[in-house]
């Protein structure tokens, strides 16, 4: 932030040489007005599309409003919040979400970091294969999630067939989407498949930011490769890894697209993440006030997590 502006003094210097009002007209708009002119449209758009609805949602969250009924919103205080925060079913949904977040993150870190270490060996063709591995994370989670339902079909899907081929289990004896025991792992699997490349790419950047001379010094000291990994590689990659983990944690915490099309929360409510509950409350049961309260709870949680994420972002940036 320091030394942000050298130019205004320069412009002022130019202006001083001519009479001030004439100069202003010659220079066109002042820097100050240009800055506001450039930033204002974006801020106005965000105010209209994000802040205004947010305030509306906060207001609605204190009412028993239902969007499909003509009745006006009746103020009911914090009843919605009390309902949500004492509801054991919703509590269970938060736990399901946490299970989903924890395991996808764990698998993504394990596989992503592993792949990054391997790709960093710079074998021939590594950049081509990196691009191939990156593909899933750019695709539409909804469209891909929809297609995974075919891949997971017990009879005709290739996934069960492959598992059966390698393990000898009959391909039609289990169903990844329909079974209460397997479905939570199915969503973890597909999410890991999609987002491991994300963690890998950021870890790779971390690995490449480690200067060679540190390893050279370690080699002079006869540090074993394992020791080098624990005392050099891991600490240097850690800020990057944290960045990836925080972002993925936020993303999976509010994951909707893929899960909605893959299992839509089922069977029963075994994969009902909080965002699915929210969608049902808002757009199927039309309990708008209640849904707004749940949305506000998610907003605040994500806003808090986003603060931590931006800290990590600045931390990495300064490195």
């Amino acid at each position: 932030m320091s030394g942000t502006n050298v130019t205004p003094t320069l412009v002022d210097g130019m202006a001083m040489r001519t009479a001030a009002p004439v100069a202003r007209r010659l220079r066109g708009l002042s820097d100050r007005s240009i800055a506001w002119l450039f930033i204002l449209p974006t801020m106005l758009l965000l105010l209209a599309i994000n802040i205004f609805p947010l305030i509306w949602a906060i207001r609605l969250s204190f009412t028993g409003f239902m969007a499909n009924l003509p009745a006006p919103a009746a103020f009911i205080g914090i009843d919605n919040y009390v309902d949500i925060l004492t509801d054991e079913d919703l509590w269970a949904n938060f736990q399901i979400t946490a299970h989903f977040v924890f395991w996808t993150i764990a698998l993504q870190v394990l596989i992503g970091l592993g792949l990054a270490l391997l790709i960093n060996q710079k074998f021939r063709g590594h950049s081509f294969w990196t691009t191939v591995i990156l593909l899933p994370m750019m695709l539409s989670p909804a469209v891909v999630g929809n297609f995974w339902t075919l891949l997971f079909q017990p009879q005709i899907g290739p996934f069960n067939y492959l598992i059966g081929f390698f393990t000898g289990i009959a391909p039609s004896s289990f169903t990844m989407i329909g079974s209460v025991a397997l479905a939570p792992w199915t969503v973890v699997l597909v999410n890991t498949w999609m987002w491991t490349p994300y963690v890998m790419l950021i870890c790779l950047a971390g690995l490449r930011s480690i200067p060679d001379y540190i390893y050279e010094a370690a080699e002079v000291d006869r540090a074993s490769p394992l020791r080098q990994f624990w005392s050099i590689t891991l600490p240097m990659v850690l800020p990057f890894l944290m960045l990836a983990v925080l972002f993925q944690a936020i993303q999976s915490f509010v994951m909707f697209d893929m899960v909605n099309l893959l299992t839509s929360g089922g069977p029963g409510s075994t994969t009902e993440l909080v965002s699915i509950t929210l969608k049902r409350a808002a757009f199927e049961k039309w309990e708008t006030g209640y849904a707004s309260a749940l949305a506000v709870i998610l907003f605040v949680t994500i806003f808090g997590a986003a603060n931590v994420y931006v800290r990590a972002l600045n931390w990495v940036k300064q490195q």
Binding site: L85, Q95, I297, G304, N307, R311
Partner: protein, 67 residues
């Protein structure tokens, strides 16, 4: 950024340094999220939102303290 690094903070400003406060607020947010998602106690779940809200608002305030 503000003030020379060799300058010792005077009196009460020493207590208003950003770093430790920010870490504290982030811990409160983290604690709140754990409370929200833990499977052990419904009471913890009930008070999780207040905790997260407190941590987040605290963070917004604290992050404007001097460095």
């Amino acid at each position: 950024m503000t003030g020379r690094p060799d300058m010792k903070p005077l009196g009460w400003t020493r207590w208003l340094r950003r770093g430790p406060w920010e870490n504290g607020a982030m811990s409160v947010i983290g604690l709140g999220i754990l409370m929200l998602t833990q499977p052990f106690s419904l009471d913890l779940y009930t008070y999780s939102f207040v905790t997260i809200l407190g941590g987040t608002l605290g963070f917004v305030v604290v992050s404007h303290f001097p460095q």
